[in-house]
């Protein structure tokens, strides 16, 4: 995060629709944008306050449902499209209102107690969603038409116009978040995260600091939920639940909790898996889960953390970065080998259990595999086994080279 980051972001947001012009790409980018806002708000809790919430989607989903009903009302009244850019404000208000209620119950303690209460609230709300049909419309959810009466030729019906709406809000939220991190409230949040007791002695009451940050996070999640509903013109009860929070947790943690743009990276990656890879294989969520586990165990700073460290290496010790190329190539080869074996095994298993399969031959990365012959299974197992053994020996070396290359003050933070 430096003073060029936000202007550069604005430039990228403006340039993107001129590079990616298909409606699929624009829909994808709009989806990433809405989820980026949601991920930024989640990171305010996870990275900023050290609170692991299993119920953050409650705010996302409630704002989405309110947006749905509000849009139906706007459609019915024949309102003009000038209203639509303001609808996320309604989402923010709903999110904040729900955040006050939920925060009142849940932020008294951090850590495990907070996580458990948030899980209870998530289950409570998503179970209620199936009971109170008049608002949540049961399993069908709320569908609406986002195109309103045109203002200067803009209806927000075409996805290209929605992209600009989402991009505008993404920029507002990024500026807001960057600013929040520098306010006394944001800074007190870091203090409470690192040592609640000491922060309390300095006069920052941990419960109050958590409470206000929590409400802000809920409001921002509401903005994301409203935009997400607008992009899809639909909101379903699953957007309230644990699965939705799980996805945003994956985004934020894989992207990196300690880096400002980490959640953006994560939202991009997870949405890519969700929309593009899921067309190729139903096991995409298995790969997502495994990636998350690997990041939790081996790369707690996330991808964003890795990138920022490498930028530091490139900037301060360009020569050391050259010596990293060799070990990295070797490491990448080993990981690719293991990954290939794993994908082979998973895809063959999925193929075998698929009720609609035809014949016994399938392709993985273009390699034809016969699931009825033992040879392809043995090949998969061998690849994984050899890959894991190689990883075990090569990864510590790669890591040692990386640590040695880190600039001094970066290394001491490790």
């Amino acid at each position: 995060m430096n003073r060029y980051s936000l202007p550069l972001t604005a430039l990228v947001l403006v340039a993107l629709p001129f590079v990616f012009r298909t409606s699929f790409a624009l829909a994808f980018l709009s989806q990433v944008g809405a989820l980026t806002i949601f991920a930024m708000s989640y990171n305010l809790l996870l990275g900023g306050l050290g609170l692991l919430s299993f119920g953050h989607a409650v705010f996302f989903g409630l704002a989405g449902f309110s947006t749905g009903h509000f849009m139906l009302a706007l459609d019915g009244a024949g309102a003009s499209a000038a209203w639509l850019p303001l609808v996320p404000l309604l989402g923010a208000a709903i999110g904040a209102a729900a955040g006050i209620v939920v925060g009142f119950i849940s932020v008294r303690s951090g850590g495990l107690a907070f996580a458990m209460i948030s899980l209870g609230i998530a289950e409570l709300v998503s179970a209620s969603a199936l009971i109170f049909v008049s608002f949540f419309h049961g399993e069908a959810g709320v569908s609406f038409d986002r195109a309103l009466a045109p203002v200067m030729g803009i209806t927000f019906g075409p996805i290209g116009q929605v992209y600009w709406l989402v991009a505008g809000w993404v920029f507002i939220v990024l500026v807001f978040m960057a600013h929040l991190a520098r306010t006394p409230l944001g800074l007190a949040g870091y203090a409470v995260r690192d040592n609640a007791e000491r922060a309390g002695f300095l006069g920052y009451r941990p419960v109050r600091v958590r409470f206000f940050n929590f409400i802000i996070a809920a409001a921002v999640a509401g903005v994301g939920g409203a935009l997400y509903a607008i992009v899809f013109e639909h909101v379903g009860f699953e957007s309230l639940g644990l699965a939705q929070t799980g996805l945003v947790l994956f985004m934020v943690y894989i992207g990196g909790t300690g880096v400002f743009f980490g959640p953006v990276l994560g939202a991009l990656l997870v949405t890519y898996l969700h929309t593009v890879v899921s067309r190729v294989t139903p096991a995409w969520s298995f790969y997502l889960g495994v990636t998350f586990l690997l990041v939790v165990v081996f790369v707690p700073g996330g991808i964003g953390g890795l990138i920022s460290k490498h930028i530091a290496i490139l900037r301060e010790r360009p020569r050391a970065s050259v010596s990293l190329a060799g070990p990295y190539l070797a490491g990448a080869a080993v990981i690719a080998l293991t990954f290939l074996g794993l994908v082979m095994l998973v895809e063959m298993t999925g193929f075998l259990s698929s009720p609609t399969r035809m014949g016994s031959v399938m392709r993985v990365f273009g390699i034809p595999l016969d699931v009825s012959s033992a040879a392809s299974w043995i090949a998969g197992v061998l690849l994984v086994a050899v890959g894991l053994v190689l990883c075990r020996y090569s990864m510590p070396m790669v890591r040692a080279r990386f640590r040695a290359a880190l600039p001094a003050e970066q290394g001491s933070k490790q």
Partner: protein
């Protein structure tokens, strides 16, 4: 009142107690792992699911009893491997890191099960050799299988209580949570103890899975369905308290089953007392919701209500 009859009440009471015992079987492993290692195992219900699926698969090839004997060891062994090669490495990142790891694990196990066995339910049923009426009370018949479940849960409760409170091993286990360094200095292999505790807890979950999978159904949603309920159980009971877990499991099991068997709503209740107020439109749905439809909410309502009154749960020990 006609909606309230003794038969239904007793029937739901017994069924609720049985469901509560199943919850206890599951939650006991979770409590064991939490009280010994300080790890909240989000993936606990996933091991339960894995137990049910493996139990079905092995039971289909051999028979139920072999599955019952083998599967807990298989899943427990898997638990040991996961502790050794995964969980142990995130211990340094604290509770939140561990919780995140087990959350990811639950996600992966879910996907593995779906990839191997598909998305439709498996035809798991009670083994015929145990599917006969052992006794009947007030006209309610109880199959031998349900009685077996009852005894297994009671056995787990008594066994765990004795193990932790009365044996030398229990003493070492209790020392492992409060003074791991001292215990290691005394020559005990602390890492091995943790691995065994995690394996033991997951084995208990698998045992519950084999037994319950045949009654509640062996299907991909089973882990998600029970996972959050057993969390509620151990939080309500007070984290780390075995007695609290037992009380909370039975209480929640009975209350939820009772709620689900009564088609009673607030407006019906008031109407029977002669009160028929004009509700505002947005409240009509609330007052017309019957108890049986709201039954899934019961555990979470109890949890949220209790935690705002007693943050440490029923039998919690003060510090959280």
């Amino acid at each position: 009142m006609e909606v309230f009859c003794l038969d239904t009440f007793l029937f739901s009471l017994f069924n609720g107690a049985l469901y509560g015992l199943l919850l206890f079987m599951l939650a006991s492993g979770l409590t064991l792992i939490f009280s010994m290692m300080g790890v909240l195992n989000f993936a606990h219900a996933s091991f339960y699911m894995l137990g049910a699926y493996l139990g079905f698969e092995i039971g289909r090839r051999t028979n139920f009893y072999i599955a019952l004997a083998v599967v807990p060891f298989l899943v427990g062994g898997l638990g040991i491997l996961i502790e050794r090669y995964g969980l142990r490495h995130v211990h340094a990142y604290g509770h939140v890191g561990e919780l995140m790891f087990t959350f990811g694990l639950s996600y992966v196990v879910q996907e593995v099960v779906v990839t191997i066995w598909g998305r439709s339910p498996l035809p798991a049923t009670i083994p015929p050799s145990l599917n006969f009426t052992l006794f009947s009370v007030f006209g309610l018949e109880y199959s031998a299988y349900r009685v077996l479940m009852l005894f297994v849960s009671l056995g787990i409760f008594v066994g765990m209580f004795l193990l932790v409170a009365r044996t030398r091993l229990g003493l070492i286990l209790r020392a492992a949570i409060s003074r791991p360094d001292t215990l290691a200095a005394l020559g005990h292999n602390i890492q091995l103890i943790f691995a065994l505790v995690f394996g033991g807890g997951t084995a208990l979950a698998a045992l519950a899975g084999i037994l319950a999978g045949n009654i509640l159904g062996t299907e991909p949603g089973m882990a998600i369905q029970l996972g959050s309920v057993i969390f509620v159980v151990i939080v309500v009971g007070g984290l780390g308290s075995l007695v609290g877990t037992c009380v909370a499991a039975l209480g929640i099991g009975i209350l939820q089953t009772l709620a689900s068997s009564y088609d009673l709503s607030l407006s019906m209740l008031l109407a029977s007392l002669g009160i028929r107020p004009e509700w505002p439109a947005f409240l009509v749905e609330l007052t017309n919701t019957t108890l049986s439809r709201a039954a899934p909410l019961v555990p979470f309502l109890i949890m949220v209500a209790l935690l705002s009154l007693r943050p440490n749960g029923l039998f919690g020990r003060g510090s959280s």
